[in-house]
């Protein structure tokens, strides 16, 4: 047993830190720290900065323009970027589609799409879920019928995160109604500017239009946009989900959240003293911190196994459940900390440069919003119930 990072890893951390110091614009880290609204441009700016250094393809091999980092390095990157309040890397192109194309795409697709992801030419979104296909993803009903050298796509996707920014969507579509449900699914890349694609925003409970419905009516998609083989999409989708679940523990986000919580609870007064000195409150903060310390090591154990070449398996389900519960607990405590000022909702105050002052402490409204918004953590990417189901089948063999 050795809990320390190697000298190389420590040097890597120092290099990252220096880079962030120099290159992460204060404008962006300030927005992230204060919980202000990030624009499409903000994400694109940050992607471009990382890409210029060759560090955008965090989970990509060098041959495709990625970093070639191992699991530990990726973990250190996550720790350092979240601690520095960098925007997150938008996952759909980099973390999700990239690995699928590398594994299953043809040469032309790789040569065309991968550089465009890195250069920010395409903004991808994920078209998996449908109204009737959530946890039961294999139930997708959006159809793609072959017509000469095109597929004609009809149906509806939903919950499409940041689809309003996207020009491309990767979709699970039904190409066959025969056999098992899983066997008639294909993985199709669709240009959202094609006639017949319509994007409608869905406003979430925090008031933000974060997700969308995407409708397809007779959308003609060239056959060369099929990834891999027809009716093999389920295999690729599952492969993608294992990538979606790397870094699923969200330790970096939890740490950033915990330090914000402590700062806020140090500023809020309660009976003449800072709230953080209230034993009832302090006990809850301490408990979640203790959970997080153990979680960080659970995470590292999985990462070490992955770095040693083991494919992430059902362990990532463990990380998903515990990691999201910890983050949600921190969100709930932060909401509690801001007290009566959790109630005011002045949406305009979240825009950069807004001349609308926040009501009460600046941290208050973002705290309430984050609490509501992060209820999603235990719903998406395979709900926590689905993860527990996986654990009981794959690990416990029940």
């Amino acid at each position: 047993m050795d809990l320390s990072f190697t000298p190389d890893q420590q040097a890597f951390r120092a290099e990252l830190r220096a880079f962030l110091n120099e290159n992460l614009p204060a404008r962006l880290s300030d927005k992230v720290r204060r919980g202000l609204r990030l624009t499409k441009q903000d994400y694109e700016d940050w992607h471009a900065i990382l890409n210029a250094r060759g560090w955008l393809g965090v989970n990509w091999p060098v041959e495709h323009g990625g970093t070639g980092w191992d699991a530990v390095q990726r973990h250190i990157f996550e720790e350092e970027t979240t601690a520095a309040h960098a925007p997150r890397i938008v996952p759909f192109g980099i973390a999700m589609l990239g690995p699928v194309l590398m594994a299953f795409g043809n040469d032309a697709q790789k040569a065309h799409y991968l550089p465009r992801i890195l250069n920010g030419d395409d903004w991808w979104c994920q078209g998996y879920s449908e109204p009737g296909a959530g946890s039961d993803l294999a139930n997708v009903q959006t159809t793609a019928m072959r017509d000469g050298d095109h597929y004609v796509v009809n149906g509806q996707k939903t919950w499409t995160t940041l689809g309003q920014h996207a020009n491309m969507i990767f979709c699970l579509v039904r190409t066959s109604k025969e056999g098992k449900k899983q066997e008639g699914i294909s993985f199709l890349l669709i240009d959202m500017n094609t006639p017949g694609v319509e994007v409608r925003p869905i406003v979430l409970i925090d008031g933000e239009p974060e997700v969308n419905e995407v409708w397809f009516s007779d959308v003609r998609v060239p056959v060369e946009n099929l990834v891999g083989e027809e009716n093999k999409g389920w295999t690729y989708a599952k492969y993608l989900l294992t990538h979606e679940r790397t870094n699923i523990a969200g330790v970096g986000f939890a740490r950033a959240g915990l330090s914000a919580l402590k700062r806020i609870a140090g500023e809020q007064m309660d009976g003449g003293k800072p709230l953080i000195q209230n034993p009832f409150f302090a006990a809850k903060v301490a408990q979640v911190e203790i959970d997080l310390m153990a979680m960080a090591t659970t995470n590292l154990r999985t990462i070490a196994a992955a770095a040693a070449g083991q494919a992430p398996g059902a362990e990532s389900s463990m990380l998903k459940v515990k990691g999201t519960v910890i983050r949600q607990t921190i969100n709930a405590l932060t909401r509690q900390a801001v007290g009566p000022y959790a109630a005011p909702f002045v949406s305009e105050a979240l825009d950069e440069g807004s001349n609308v002052e926040p009501v009460g402490p600046e941290a208050a409204m973002p705290a309430t919003q984050a609490y509501f918004n992060n209820r999603k953590l235990s719903i998406y990417g395979g709900s926590n119930e689905v993860q527990r189901q996986i654990i009981s089948k794959a690990i416990l063999e029940l």
């Binding site: 008031g207 809020q268 007064m269 009832f280 007290g339 959790a342 109630a343 509501f372």
Partner: protein, 350 residues
């Protein structure tokens, strides 16, 4: 022992439920929250016509109710409907000053909490000064519900080391008005030597009573919200199909929904406890016991109901969102679960 409602209260509950079911809509609530008053005047006028404010006060104050269980019946229904309205303010103000105008439908509010008072009722920095027999108030009041729509504005302030209560003309103060999570509006109030009329010189006991009554009402409202959320969620579990069956057939969800039901029944008992002791010697112990339990249960009900709905539970458009936010905000007024846990320990040891 008898846990049934009296005939009068049963009638009030029935007609109130019918009225609110017919008149309150999610769009109406959203529009009112974005509007000037923060509540729907038409619905309010209907409530007044039905005698709802009168049910909150005893006969000697011109009403026909005023007991804990009257508050419970009224506010549970308001909660079920998820209706934002200045009726908690009616309870507060009516127990501190005259209730006559309130019974006739006047909108009134109490400005007591301040930017750094959190949930401490005795933390008042606003000062009252007397000059030539008149009073002037200077200070700041925080998150005052419906202040921009109020006709009567009660303000607490320090006068000779005591906390006194004043009436101030709403146009004699500066207000910053804003919408609230869960609907309704509130204001930050700036008093800069505002002319005031003395209502009560040593008002701390009266404030405690007012807040006890309002907390009971608010807990009943929370209970109604929980019932509405439970109904929505059970309905969803029955109708939403995944893997070829209603998700309510999955035991993992069945057990959690059963726990939610158990906790909501506990919440009902806690509200009954408080309403039954509202005029008794153990009032404050029950205020804190119930507010603590309601705070904990609200969090459970909100989080479980959103989770069991999946994505749809995260949307603003679906009815759950508004109810869940409104229920969450209950823990941010009149003291959160921790505040009342601490107070309960103190009171129980005394």
């Amino acid at each position: 022992m008898d846990f049934r409602l009296t005939d009068e209260r049963q009638m009030l509950q029935d007609s109130l439920r019918r009225y609110l079911t017919d008149t309150v809509t999610p769009d109406g609530i959203a529009a009112a929250t974005d509007g000037e008053a923060g509540f729907d005047r038409t619905v309010w006028d209907g409530l007044v016509e039905m005698g709802v404010p009168a049910a909150l006060f005893p006969e000697e104050q011109g009403g026909f109710g005023g007991a804990g269980f009257d508050l419970m019946v009224v506010f549970e229904e308001l909660g079920r409907a998820g209706l934002p309205a200045p009726l908690l303010e009616t309870v507060l103000v009516g127990s501190l000053a005259s209730s006559e105008d309130l019974i006739a439908g006047q909108v009134a509010t109490l400005a007591h909490a301040e930017p750094s008072s959190r949930y401490d009722l005795s933390h008042v920095e606003t000062r009252a000064e007397q000059a030539d027999g008149a009073y002037q108030l200077t200070g700041r009041k925080a998150v005052v519900p419906y202040a921009s729509a109020t006709e009567t504005l009660l303000v607490s302030a320090r006068l000779n080391d005591k906390i006194a209560l004043f009436q101030v003309q709403p146009d004699a103060v500066q207000m910053r008005d804003y919408p609230l999570n869960g609907g309704g509006r509130a204001s930050e109030i700036m008093l800069d030597g505002a002319a005031a009329q003395l209502v009560q010189e040593d008002a701390m006991d009266a404030l405690h009573t007012a807040f006890a009554r309002a907390t009971a009402a608010q807990c009943a409202e929370a209970l109604g919200l929980m019932e509405a959320i439970k109904a929505l969620t059970v309905d969803y579990l029955r109708n939403r199909k995944q893997f070829g069956q209603p998700i309510g057939k999955f035991q993992a969800l069945q057990h959690r929904m059963a726990d939610v039901l158990i906790e909501i029944e506990q919440a009902r008992s806690a509200v009954i406890n408080l309403c039954g002791h509202l005029d008794g010697p153990e009032r404050d112990l029950h205020v804190s016991a119930t507010k603590n339990l309601i705070g904990r249960t609200a969090k459970l009900v909100v989080e479980e109901s959103i989770q069991m709905h999946g994505g749809i539970g995260m949307t603003q458009e679906y009815a759950l969102g508004h109810l869940a936010k409104r229920l969450t905000m209950v823990d941010h007024r009149f003291g959160d679960a921790d505040h009342h846990l601490e107070r309960f320990i103190r009171l129980a040891a005394a």
